[in-house]
């Protein structure tokens, strides 16, 4: 492929669109970590469920794909509540390895259940804008990608308002600072944990719906985005929302540029190499708090 100005611009636009999906996933992972001090390695599987549910709702009920995302968001939030109550709550605060084991069990449960329900072949969500694109001189961008960027911005603004302006957000911030003090202030920490997990799951579902409209997906789609989202929040610092946004955009653009210049094989390997180097230099991430 010739590397010309239009291809680079197109790559940047693609990078921003993909980065937006990563941002949503990373923000969800981040808020769960911030409040619950829990790393949910099965977060990408919630994205996968979001994509499949959006597909089913738009296909079976004939609903507009973007409206279907809202429905799937609610369903995945409920699944998130169930997951938190039934599994993570029982191992929270104990041996960190147990949280990793439970996440892994959840990955196996969700992926295989999805494979049994929806089959092993890949699917793509048909949106009303499919096939249409904005044509500028020498480049064309599909409308779906442009809409995806705006959906992400709207979701993040709503999320920011929830965290900054509401009582629930205040309680979540208090819990994230110190849960025992939050408890003394009359906050029901267990309810906050449940809500936090539900919100994180809902963000993953939106990411899944957008992903399913832009790309085709199958039951294994969640694995790589989880890792990428994790890389993003490690770079941006665990618990920092701003870091996740900057990291997500940066990662999406770098990944697309790396694919353009070096070829697709190196995409994830380069991401991990970067991650490992950062962690060797700073074991708590670039913007993370200093350890002991």
């Amino acid at each position: 492929m010739d590397i010309t100005a239009p291809t680079i611009i197109l790559t940047l636009v693609w990078g921003v669109a993909i980065g937006c999906v990563y941002i949503l996933l990373a923000t969800g992972l981040n808020i769960i970590f911030g409040v619950m001090k829990l790393v949910n390695f099965a977060h990408g599987q919630l994205l996968m469920l979001g994509a499949y549910l959006t597909w089913t709702i738009s296909y079976a009920a004939g609903l507009n794909a973007y409206a279907a995302i809202i429905v799937s968001m609610l369903v995945v939030a409920l699944i998130g509540v169930a997951v938190e109550r039934l599994t993570f709550r029982r191992v929270l605060g104990g041996d960190k390895l147990n949280e990793i084991f439970v996440s892994l069990g959840l990955i196996y449960i969700f992926e295989n259940a999805a494979m049994l329900i929806w089959g092993a072949n890949s699917k793509q969500i048909v949106s009303p804008l499919s096939g249409l694109s904005l044509t500028l001189p020498s480049i064309s961008i599909t409308y779906d990608r442009i809409v995806a960027v705006f959906v992400v911005i709207a979701t993040l603004i709503a999320f920011g308002l929830l965290i900054q302006k509401t009582k629930i957000g205040l309680a979540m911030r208090a819990t994230s600072q110190r849960n025992s003090t939050a408890m003394l202030m009359g906050i029901n920490v267990e309810t906050i944990y449940m809500l936090t997990f539900a919100i994180g799951a809902a963000l993953a579902a939106v990411a899944g719906g957008l992903y399913g409209i832009i790309f085709s997906f199958d039951y294994q789609v969640g694995a790589l985005p989880t890792i990428i989202a994790f890389a993003i929040i490690i770079l941006g610092g665990l618990g920092s929302i701003k870091g996740a946004i900057i990291g997500g955009l940066l990662y999406g653009i770098v990944e697309q540029l790396a694919t353009l210049f070096f070829g697709g094989v190196w995409g994830s390997a380069v991401a991990f190499a970067m991650l490992i180097v950062v962690l060797i230099i700073r074991p708590n991430g670039i913007f993370g708090e200093k350890g002991e």
Partner: protein
């Protein structure tokens, strides 16, 4: 000195007797049963017992690796490639086209598998240097990332590894009973060595670090040093398992670096019993026999005719159902029985022996 102090009581202890007895029973078993499929499954179980035990040792020091497939693969590729070049050199000097099987080839087999383990441990040392300062989830991510990088490198260096299409290592020990004996010898020695390490002062340090790293540091344990040692020992045995696996399956491909292979020892160990010697073995028996029985043509066919209609999108319903159940078992075990199935197993043993004692007491 320390080794002698460790070894002498061990040679007199019950553990040594159990080890000898286990070896004898395992060696005789296939002669009694005399079935190829049985032998195949048993060999695989012991290869994975080594692999899962190596993961267990690392987790016992508080480090949960999600990328052990990297070391399985490094050991596998290294021993298959070194073995290949050694045997082609021998074949060229003898001017034959087929590697002669004999004491010589068995020795080469043992040496190349050990070399695979050593190379894996060498790389494990370098990765371990990066990992000792990391917290649980960062470590999980870095090890996972390393297995992805190892797979990518192996496909980029395809002219050396031939990993994309895969290749068959040149046979050095015939498959079947001879290879089974090789595997159980390696398994008995490796698992005994690892259990000795876990029972020694070093193992105590590992457990202290797992319990609470800051406290371990406070009582004067050099946590970074012990974590690194655990990493090197673990990756050495994972590499050995990789070499045995490649030579047993008679095929090695980049697939070996897949995340599924990284998760396997974790699932085996957690289901069997984290931090115990028998846990990884129980888990390996459970998982390998489940996977192998699901691959039997009769089982595949009956599952398809009974359940296939409910799941039209899946061609072979056995594996997804099995892995769904394994996922549920994993979660249930972590929540309700964090020590896995091993305590149940030892309770059962105690129950048996106490009953016998009870009978003896009654007779008296």
């Amino acid at each position: 000195m320390q080794i002698k102090q460790l070894l002498m009581p061990f040679l007199r202890s019950n553990g040594f007797k159990i080890m000898l007895a286990a070896f004898a029973i395992l060696a005789i078993l296939p002669i009694l049963v005399n079935d190829n499929f049985f032998l195949y499954v048993f060999t695989l179980i012991f290869v994975f017992s080594i692999y899962a035990s190596s993961w267990n040792l690392l987790a016992n020091s508080g480090q949960g690796s999600l990328g052990h497939a990297a070391f399985l693969g490094i050991g596998g590729f290294a021993s298959a490639l070194i073995g290949g070049s050694m045997s082609s050199a021998i074949m060229a000097s003898l001017e034959v086209t087929k590697m002669p099987i004999g004491i010589m080839s068995v020795l080469i087999q043992i040496v190349v598998i050990l070399l695979g383990g050593l190379l894996s441990a060498g790389i494990g040392f370098l990765i371990g240097l990066a990992c000792v300062r990391l917290k649980a989830w960062y470590l999980a991510m870095v090890t996972f990332g390393f297995s992805v990088i190892a797979g990518t490198l192996s496909s980029q260096l395809d002219t050396i590894t031939n990993g994309i299409n895969g290749f068959a290592p040149i046979a050095l020990v015939p498959n079947g009973y001879p290879f089974y004996i090789l595997v159980i010898s390696f398994a008995v020695f490796s698992i005994t060595a690892m259990s000795l390490i876990m029972k020694s002062r070093m193992g105590l340090a590992f457990r202290a670090i797992h319990g609470n790293e800051t406290e371990a540091k406070m009582i004067g344990i050099n946590t970074a040093k012990y974590k690194l040692i655990a990493f090197v020992i673990s990756t050495f045995f994972a590499g050995i398992a990789g070499g045995l696996y490649a030579y047993f399956i008679r095929f090695i491909q980049n697939d070996i670096f897949s995340p599924a292979n990284s998760f396997l020892p974790l699932i085996m160990t957690v289901i069997g019993g984290l931090g115990t010697v028998v846990g990884p073995i129980i888990g390996s028996i459970f998982l390998v026999s489940l996977q192998q029985s699901l691959a039997l043509p009769g089982v595949v066919e009956s599952l398809r005719s009974s359940l296939g209609a409910y799941f039209p999108g899946v061609s072979n319903v056995g594996p997804p159902i099995a892995f769904l159940i394994i996922g549920i078992i994993l979660v249930l075990i972590v929540i309700f029985s964090p020590k896995g199935l091993a305590p149940l197993f030892s309770k059962f043993l105690k129950y048996l022996t106490s009953e016998e004692k009870g009978k003896e007491a009654k007779k008296k």
